[in-house]
Subunit: 124 residues, 2 copies
């Protein structure tokens, strides 16, 4: 069934109606919250769109897995490491991380870093 | 292979390094450009992330298809029609349109309406 999650309108917090934020507990993740926006509860969806917010000084884990990520930066400033390469990221940069590639996002600024990260349903 | 398409930095235009915009020609689409950001050229990707920009007065076609859309509004203001329901959309609203549902985006403002729209690879 189609669904609309309205943004709550406060870009200092980022929140959506009908979506609860959660704190991922994977080893290596730091000061990061996740909102699963679309696809998890819709049985027919082939992929899941999540929003991540990484606080100043925070990071996602440095890890790899078989599935790909498609990422679009929404706000803030940081870096993405893909294998041995580290690249600065700023709003609206689009990043595909192939399955098997080591990767990590870090917030290198004083403001929250926010991005959308889409994964295939089978990986969830 | 992983890839980064840096945003060109001009939010009055929206453009990415290594990505060419195109004008879809489907019947019913009006004043809309599309940038295919991620997933089309990466053989292992299971889904494709596209950016659409709908100019003032423009719209996407009113249509349906078997695959789902996952959409996040980036800028501007408009409406989404899903079957018989029309809802106003503004930045960061998250919308899943199920396969088979009639749908259309319209720009109802004087500024461009921009959104990400993700589709499964098999639908491209």
């Amino acid at each position: 069934m189609s669904v609309i999650h309205k943004f709550k309108g406060d870009t200092s917090i980022y929140g959506w109606q009908g979506v609860n934020g959660m704190v991922p507990t994977e080893e290596g993740i730091k000061d990061t919250t996740m909102h699963i926006l679309l696809g998890k509860d819709e049985s027919e969806a082939h992929f899941i769109t999540r929003y991540f917010r990484v606080e100043a000084g925070g990071c996602s884990p440095l890890h790899q897995h078989p599935h790909e990520h498609e990422v679009v930066i929404l706000h803030g400033k940081g870096t993405v490491q893909i294998n041995d390469d580290v690249t600065e990221v700023t709003p609206f940069d689009a990043i595909l991380i192939s399955g098997g590639d080591m990767h990590q996002f870090k917030n290198t600024s004083d403001e929250p870093l926010g991005f959308l990260c889409i994964i295939p349903k089978l990986a969830s």
